[in-house]
């Protein structure tokens, strides 16, 4: 039998959390992010007010998703664009593939998009004989490695320049002889430039869908997004339905807050708004413009009043960056499109609670994620709710259910609780005196594997209280 997602997670987590080279690379990356992020936040006069505003905008959008999506669609169609509503991954992929084959597309250039990762679009296109180029540098690197993105904003953050130079030498050009970042970037650029001009179709995501203006908004730093959306004849936007926002003016706060949370920048290098195919008299833009609105489980999440706000997420990656679990196990260990706290909350909803409930437990509930979320999603409390939901759905182990039932009984019977505590300390002391700490007989062996044994005082507090401490 093949491994379950939970078993794989445990195994990969054990390996990665002991991998000191990995920890060093991630720690260094996160350290520089932390500095930039704090500096970025200080540029905004009232960061808390900005978060509040972003939360309000997203809440309004999500609570009236139907209205804003239709408004967006109407505007795009009026400008000659096409809008397709995809209920799931398969519908979305099939639509894009059909557009490509109908128009004789042989090469596709992609700018960074997590939704296309979520629906696994590239393999579908490649199977139809279409060459797909990731053009975001980080995405390009992980594509060469045949890996999914490690992080939703910085897909190749787990690699250092030496590893990237080696990869380029093996996959691109054996003559590559330096790990200088500018040199490596130049090597990638030369290849990608050819791809941009060969491609008939560009595929992008969207950071926001602006309802009143009927445009998509994209934030990028490398300029590849603009090339993808304006050089090829056809532009296909693949995006989640939750990306809609009511008004163009909302970008005035969302754009800087997204950039600050994502990379610490005041605003990303490029902010692009596109509302349809090239209009008469315009000098650039695609001849055909398609928007694929992907549901893929989002409507179901919308129906969950307790966790609906998870749809507020603007995919900035701040919760991943601050998460001590992510920092130790890394992005790939999660085995999901969206790693880190947001992924642990979201994935059980999108891909099934049975298979992915373990992610909700793989958190110390420290709440660091919630404290940085720019749209104020109560992430760690949603993890708690996911755990409760898993228990109520009967998806937890029967042995664990039994333990907690016994535990409840003991806690409701103070004498039994005190006796149990005394007995446990006594037994452990005998075991440890015999040198059996960490052995198969030690009920605390999981604890003792990485830690010295817990203290075992001879008297509990309540015993000492009774023996005289209680006299005020």
């Amino acid at each position: 039998m093949s491994q379950t997602a939970a078993q794989r997670f445990l195994q990969d987590a054990a390996v990665k959390s002991a991998d000191l080279v990995h920890r060093e690379i991630i720690q260094r990356g996160m350290d520089s992010y932390d500095v930039a992020h704090l500096k970025g936040r200080a540029r905004i006069k009232d960061w808390e007010a900005a978060r509040q505003k972003c939360q309000e905008i997203k809440r309004e959008a999500i609570n009236h998703l139907d209205r804003y999506l239709l408004q967006f669609e109407e505007k795009v169609i009026a400008r000659g664009g096409h809008v397709f509503w995809a209920a799931n991954s398969e519908e979305a992929c099939t639509y894009v593939k059909n557009v490509a084959t109908r128009l004789g597309v042989r090469t596709v250039v992609k700018s960074k998009s997590m939704v296309t990762e979520e629906i696994h679009l590239s393999p579908v296109l490649e199977k139809a004989g279409i060459k797909v180029w990731e053009t975001d540098l980080g995405e390009f690197i992980v594509q060469l490695r045949d890996e999914p993105p490690y992080h939703i904003v910085t897909p190749a953050m787990h690699l250092n320049r030496g590893q990237i130079a080696k990869l380029f030498r093996e996959k691109l050009d054996p003559a590559i002889d330096s790990d200088d970042p500018v040199y490596l970037m130049g090597a990638a650029r030369r290849i990608l430039r050819q791809a941009f001009f060969a491609a008939e179709m560009g595929i992008s995501g969207a950071n926001f869908l602006v309802a009143d203006a009927g445009v998509i908004a994209i934030s990028t730093n490398e300029g590849n997004g603009r090339l993808c959306t304006s050089v090829p004849r056809i532009h296909v936007v693949v995006t989640g339905i939750e990306k809609v926002i009511p008004r163009l003016e909302d970008l005035a706060v969302l754009w800087p807050v997204l950039a600050t949370s994502g990379t610490g920048q005041g605003i990303t290098t490029y902010g692009t708004l596109i509302g349809g195919p090239r209009q008469p008299g315009e000098v650039d833009g695609a001849e055909e413009f398609h928007v694929v609105l992907v549901d893929n489980g989002r409507s179901q999440l919308l129906a969950d009043a307790e966790q609906r706000e998870v749809l507020h997420c603007i995919r900035c990656g701040a919760c991943l960056n601050i998460c001590p679990v992510f920092r130790h196990v890394g992005g790939h260990t999660y085995g999901t499109t969206y790693p880190g706290p947001i992924g642990s909350v979201l994935t059980p909803h999108l891909n099934g609670i049975k298979e992915f409930k373990h992610l909700s437990y793989a958190s110390s509930l420290c709440g660091a994620c919630t404290s940085v979320c720019p749209v104020k999603i109560d992430l760690h409390h949603h993890l708690l709710q996911n755990r409760r939901n898993a228990t109520e759905a009967g998806a937890t182990k029967s042995s664990e259910r039994l333990i907690f039932r016994a535990w409840r009984w003991a806690m409701l019977h103070p004498r039994m609780y005190a006796l149990g505590g005394w007995l446990m300390r006594k037994v452990l002391r005998i075991l440890y005196d015999l040198g059996l700490a960490g052995s198969i007989l030690d009920p605390m062996r999981v604890w003792n594997r990485y830690r010295s044994p817990v203290p075992l005082p001879s008297e509990s507090f309540r015993a000492r209280w009774r023996k005289g401490l209680g006299a005020n």
Partner: protein, 240 residues
């Protein structure tokens, strides 16, 4: 704490009495219910919470030497008992429950508790106290007034130590890796002691530090505040 760290509770009583408070310990109390609640067993946690509310509803103020247990009562009881007949009483109890340092500084208005502790100490900001109860400066205000105590700041003092309750057992590899990072940050300060508002963080850290044979010892905040004479051992190695 009752079973494994009685000294922490004894020291809490000492500090409160020194400041003139009458301290009661209702002996039929057990656990606030957090282990079950955090693991998703809300139906198992609920009767514990109801029990707690029943036992403590007449107390003027409930002081708990743990930010985590305080969080359970103050932040989670209202949600856990939303449909219980104990709801109103739970809200009232929640509003009168405080972690020790926040009680001393915010409620009692005291920062000078008359303690002496001639040692170097670094402070770990426990997550529940920090992010659920918004305890930021209170423990530091108390520590700064302790005679002879030299406070050394560690890097990433606000990053989780990796304990996380059942997380430490279910994901022991990750928990230990996080604990190791924390232990390295603690060690880098060169301080003799590391302190916090949560005994559970310290229990975990003590285990990690112990396994590494690190010289830094753990000591709970109340145990520092209770010191009047020469210092004692780390809370774990306490002989009573």
């Amino acid at each position: 704490m009752d079973q494994l760290l009685p000294e922490v509770a004894v020291d809490t009583v000492k500090v409160l009495r020194r400041l003139g408070y009458a301290v009661e310990f209702p002996e039929d109390q057990t656990c606030c219910g957090q282990p079950a609640f955090n693991t998703g067993y809300w139906n198992e946690a609920r009767p514990c919470a109801e029990n707690f509310v029943r036992i403590f509803k007449h107390a003027e103020v409930i002081v708990c030497p743990s930010g985590s247990c305080t969080t359970m009562v103050r932040s989670f009881y209202p949600e856990l008992l939303a449909k219980s007949s104990f709801r109103e009483e739970a809200l009232a109890v929640a509003s009168r429950t405080f972690e020790l340092s926040e009680f001393l500084v915010k409620v009692a208005g005291v920062t000078q508790v008359g303690a002496t502790f001639p040692h170097t100490v670094t402070y770990h900001a426990s997550c529940h106290g920090l992010r659920e109860l918004h305890i930021h400066d209170e423990p530091l205000q108390l520590l700064r007034q302790v005679e002879g105590l030299k406070l050394i700041e560690m890097v990433r003092s606000e990053e989780c130590c990796g304990f996380g309750g059942t997380f430490a057992a279910k994901f022991s590899d990750i928990s230990a890796a996080m604990g190791t990072s924390k232990a390295e940050n603690v060690a880098a300060t060169g301080a003799e002691f590391v302190t916090a508002t949560d005994p559970s963080c310290l229990l975990h850290l003590q285990g990690i530090l112990g396994k590494r044979h690190a010289p830094t010892r753990t000591i709970y905040l109340a145990s520092i505040l209770a010191q009047e004479s020469p210092p004692r051992q780390s809370m774990g190695q306490e002989k009573s």
